[in-house]
Subunit: 303 residues, 2 copies
Amino acid sequence: MNNTLTILGCGSAMPTIQNSPSGQLLEMSGKQFLIDCGEGIQITLRRMSQRINRLDHIFISHLHGDHCFGLLGLISTLGMLGRTRDLYIHAQADLQRLMQPLLDYFCQGMEYKVIFDVIRPNKHVVIYEDRTLTVKTIPLKHRVPSCGFLFEEKPKERHIIKEQMDFYNIPLAAIPALKAGEDYLNSDGKLIENERLTTAPNPPFRFAYCSDTAYLEKIVPLIQGVDCLYHESTYTDEHAARAKETQHSTARQAATIAKLANVNQLIIGHFSARIDDHLQFLAEAREVFPNTLLAEERQQYKL
Amino acid sequence: MNNTLTILGCGSAMPTIQNSPSGQLLEMSGKQFLIDCGEGIQITLRRMSQRINRLDHIFISHLHGDHCFGLLGLISTLGMLGRTRDLYIHAQADLQRLMQPLLDYFCQGMEYKVIFDVIRPNKHVVIYEDRTLTVKTIPLKHRVPSCGFLFEEKPKERHIIKEQMDFYNIPLAAIPALKAGEDYLNSDGKLIENERLTTAPNPPFRFAYCSDTAYLEKIVPLIQGVDCLYHESTYTDEHAARAKETQHSTARQAATIAKLANVNQLIIGHFSARIDDHLQFLAEAREVFPNTLLAEERQQYKL
């Protein structure tokens, strides 16, 4: 199953002709996760004809409008579409306090529940877990409390070598233990080592989302070696002073984090409305970290 | 000066590939008015490169999300753009109660004030007045309290006939009185009738916005003879039962109101996501009222 990232919005606070506020749909291990939900995200999903029938969890990085003003419209539309499954919103406590009166007023009679799960952005802890993956917060540094999210698959099962199973005449009932790495004791009392019967599992896939944040080296150990890092890149070198002042990152800083963390792939986004030519971001990032891609709205990235 | 109507969104509650939630920008007598503000309106304005530097008043017809979820984003962006002039929102009392905590949280430090003016949708009264025009509420019938808006220019001044002024040797100081319709008494004591010196003014321009509403004949006298009527047309004949149930109108009903009110021009919008082919709306409306136009997003209509 492919892991994909669909960029729904990769602008910063001010919408532009090119870019809408933040939002992205992560498909991982057969599930869907929405990360941030700026205004217009539900409209973009519709225009892309993107189905979100496996979406049960939304993660909000911080409480600036360009990361959450689209929630109410999305929730309302899901109600009209007849959703019945609970929807979880993982966000700082203030969001529920602010949104609940509006949900009560505008979304009366919906057949599903919206459940707020309070996250503390200054902790690096598991905030979501299921059979195949976990999500952890990544404390960031911004003008308001902000955190990224680390999506990590759990260690996977080993792959059975079918020919060896036949050769050793191993019953099907033994497969779960073999996939878990155990050796096999056959009826003659002979031990067959697991390595003869299986191959190593695929390494667990890991994706990190880091936005909004100033340049922050202390996240490096938390995202070390991830397959893909989405890191905000609001400004170019020319606006480095403004990046510092507003606690955002430049493309070069995003790339530096990617390099220090030895990630496989970097995607940069959250582009300032001040900068029209996005190739500038790309050029500056690639000087430091060549395997960088530009986020583009309505594009899907295979991870 | 041209009066224009720019359609920013003409869908109903559910966004589609074609349509966003409601919003339109009316330019009249040199001023700008925003009528309804569904999610994404500020993004559409940006993508159209539409300036709104003469916008001081927003009118919200009723408190369904597709008519007001875009307010917060718009207000926030205007703050970032450095707006300093007060912005007035004319809406039912609940909107301020619901929005004020979010404005206080998300829009701290803005250099302009958002002032809520409470309207009572069941009254037909003046809710805005300036030197050249008035805005009145039009009570509608919907699942929640709802009202339309009637924008009316005040009676204009008569036009001076320059040649006659020269012929009778009338001083410039007399012009204001002549424009107001008074006769002129010259220095010989002779009365020169106003009709010799002026021609009739242009008739005051009138625009009516009626959305959302069930078919409601009692609005006919309130909008009699307007130059342009925007009337909701959520459904086609095929869905007439659903229109009744949800207290919306069909295209044919919108056209019937236009015909009964003897308006000059009808524009229909607020199209249901169930109906892809908008020409159906147009065909059904034109059977009753030929001078009907379809609302299309990002189109500007000269009124």
